[in-house]
Subunit: 298 residues, 2 copies
Amino acid sequence: MNRQLVAQRHDPYPSRHVQQPSITPRLDPVVYGEDDGPLDPELVQSYEDDGFLVVPNLLSPSEAFEVDAEIERLALDPDVRARPQSVLEPDSDALRSLFEVHVGDGPLAALARDERLAGAARQLLGSDVYVHQSRVNLKPGFRGEVFDWHSDFETWHTEDGMPRMRALSCSVLLTPNHGNNGPLLAIAGSHQWFVACVGETPDRHFEQSLRRQEVGVPDERSLRALAEGGRIEACMGAPGTVVFFDCNLMHGSNSNITPDPRRNVFIVYNSVENALEEPFAAPAPRPEHIASRTFTPL
Amino acid sequence: MNRQLVAQRHDPYPSRHVQQPSITPRLDPVVYGEDDGPLDPELVQSYEDDGFLVVPNLLSPSEAFEVDAEIERLALDPDVRARPQSVLEPDSDALRSLFEVHVGDGPLAALARDERLAGAARQLLGSDVYVHQSRVNLKPGFRGEVFDWHSDFETWHTEDGMPRMRALSCSVLLTPNHGNNGPLLAIAGSHQWFVACVGETPDRHFEQSLRRQEVGVPDERSLRALAEGGRIEACMGAPGTVVFFDCNLMHGSNSNITPDPRRNVFIVYNSVENALEEPFAAPAPRPEHIASRTFTPL
């Protein structure tokens, strides 16, 4: 699609090709249909209000351990580390993230189809869902680095062509996430606001942005406004705890200097009614292993 | 002093000019005399056991505010920022640290002489004391970066020639230090062990090490052993809270992505009976504004 056509397409959430940062209200529901699914009504309400929900011990410790053992096996495999799915830390050769972990038929594929996760996603998004992205963030001990504040949707919309806010992430805690090893920090209520970011998306931006993001970064003034209007909460828990969070939740995490790795697997579910189009503000779509274009319902 | 002479001098705590990392027991007392001073016996005992002590609200909020206002004035002064006392963050031009803040006769000089701090230092160190170093660590909001694990004594011994472990730091909290803005992390009990680090000190090392330390860095195996033998504790509190910590306590801090700056002023007291000599493992002593050689008692 050429620039002319991109410019003519209606964009409900313009970002990057804008002159100024701005905060505008969300145009989409947070919860699309809540009647049928594994989450109790008060949990659905809490998710809707805050934009995220921490469910302690949704998986058993032994289930979390089985998934973690598979991640460890993958992380130690030199063939896996050499694949484009592997992303290193910005200042060291420690493994930062591993993408597309749900394919095949191992414990991670089973996890992505698990009713406790996929069923909750169907419930909140009010439709069938498919896996838009899966990844592990390893945040290794001693050297785990920052994830700066961001809305996933801002990137998925501009770089992947996700049209509306009708997707969510499940973060499954594989190691203890405590106060000092870089737990997920969420700004409660921030999912109700879209922060437009300034700066054109460079070609093949993902090759750099997954190590340290510098485009699609919200400005400090907007972040301060969101933090003052909400509250910053650390999502902590034991292995097996699951954090559900809306695609537009402003989140990030600090570094990890403790010896304890903070390892979580993320499964991103998108509604089949919200399938990707052409990117809204990028020269080309990101590769399949980062943003799937296989929209088959789970 | 030439290399030959350095090699012949007795070094109770060899580091850097060693082949292997090692952990050896501390050879010096932690508390040198506890009878006379502002700290109650149970607080002295807690300091001795853990290697640090958090005293909530030792200063009033308004006293902390007055000091903080002076820091803010200094941090905004372009002349101050241009001085060698100013250290910038490794990845941005944000002010990371400001050294030698206790000179002159403003609120910071008064703070260094305050009996609640200096008197406690005299009590714990069992002698008159002088200010070895003073600094502010600003850990700005959004961009405050990591301080990796280290023992201050390892550097003060190798680079400044501090002979024995008979010094302590007072960290005065100027802004709220909470769980998410990079509070001081201490490994309780680690002060009882000296970790020798591998790697020669480069010439003028301080110009780089104060932004990000790469020599005098303990190895991960030793850190893991200390953390398993003790516990990692985050030193949190409201403005005016003071953390006293032993010169050999293993400590560090995570990044700060929150909007809230984590600003603390550190006053380092050394016993007058422990005055600096030639460095034990560095080509030349560090400058006066980092390691004072004016041993006049307060």
